[in-house]
Symmetry: D2
Subunit: 136 residues, 4 copies
Amino acid sequence: MKSFQTTYRVTYSDTDQMGFMHHSNYLKCYETARWELFRSIGIAYPEIEYEGIILPVINTSLKFIKPAFYDQKIIINTRIKSFKGARIVFEYQTINETGEIINEAQITVACVKKITGKACFPPKKISDTLKELIDK
Amino acid sequence: MKSFQTTYRVTYSDTDQMGFMHHSNYLKCYETARWELFRSIGIAYPEIEYEGIILPVINTSLKFIKPAFYDQKIIINTRIKSFKGARIVFEYQTINETGEIINEAQITVACVKKITGKACFPPKKISDTLKELIDK
Amino acid sequence: MKSFQTTYRVTYSDTDQMGFMHHSNYLKCYETARWELFRSIGIAYPEIEYEGIILPVINTSLKFIKPAFYDQKIIINTRIKSFKGARIVFEYQTINETGEIINEAQITVACVKKITGKACFPPKKISDTLKELIDK
Amino acid sequence: MKSFQTTYRVTYSDTDQMGFMHHSNYLKCYETARWELFRSIGIAYPEIEYEGIILPVINTSLKFIKPAFYDQKIIINTRIKSFKGARIVFEYQTINETGEIINEAQITVACVKKITGKACFPPKKISDTLKELIDK
């Protein structure tokens, strides 16, 4: 699949006293980016939860190459790398205003029934959409 | 009532690029402080939610007198100022390591039934404890 | 002056276990909104800091009328209420997707020399712009 | 080296609408834990920055095994896995109240001169302390 692009402007509260966007905030940006990707393919994350399914993060791996600074408009490229069983793997690349890759990441979420806490298959509509997307 | 004292050490992620604890983080500290006050008088906030009642914030007023810096151990003094109907008003004072008052606040929470979203009286056990506390 | 409008989509990480946008996050939204207002009138907040001046928050007063929920697109109306000496007072109103006012706030920032920590007048270019704006 | 133990009580603002501590908050806890480890061996992180050196995160890898819930007191075990050149690798394990491992992580920080942004060796006092620690 092609990667899906979102932009984010680094806020003042994202920074720490180093003057960098605090590293924990990338996880927040990547969370928003993956549900925006979902929205772009017709899947509304709130509806998934409404059906009693949650998609908690089970693995994250981030590489911080260069810092992001306050007020910079960064580009986040997101793609679904794989989808097997209950697991969806997202791949990310963040680009700064001068075109440099500043962060790379891989984040895995799992499909889980909220009530039981057990891993499950995503609803058929979603798994069909994801499979079709990955093959593109 | 006498004020209840908690301490908090400012973390790196609390800071912003001014080098100050970001002003939004006082609200997080004050939230923790009020439920620690509750714990100290025998009320467990998680149990309140378990009974279907939430205590959302409905009013906050904060005065930022001096900044708090990374790694400082600050003291938060909390007291319940009033309790009427569904509303509990908390008063706060934050003191830095050199004894200066750096922040003062007043925060009001309301007792709300989670399912209906309507204001309600707190469970009797809690309202009795609060009334007794305020009279002291 | 007329109010300046920004929009914000509530993220997953903004929510707490009540299912509401955590009350501390309004302060982050309002911070972004006021520097976007500044940008719209030709003042870049990063340039102010570059000149050795910071604008820390010294007073906040927020009224939480209704909760904001995950994925809602909220509208934030910001206006400068007053500007006297070193102090700028911002007024906010947040509107949800169905047109209801969910939050109202007043936030005061002070112009401060970063090195001395003392209150100061804003650079002339900024104070001229602000005065002209308020009179409109 | 033996691991260094810190505890953390999950706050309300740490949670998201799943009812879990939001995954980004582990990075904040781990940051605090590594500077507490430093404090325990006589190194004050603020003093490092005071000497013009920062220790930004350059790599993180986290495995989320079970969720942490509001008000739980979690135990964070931190150890320095390796220290070579400018890089220090920390290893973490988080344990919940019933003794289960809920999170495992590896985080690498780099020693960087704040002014140049270039990697550097840590001050001799620190590198001596770290080397001695790892050999234990």
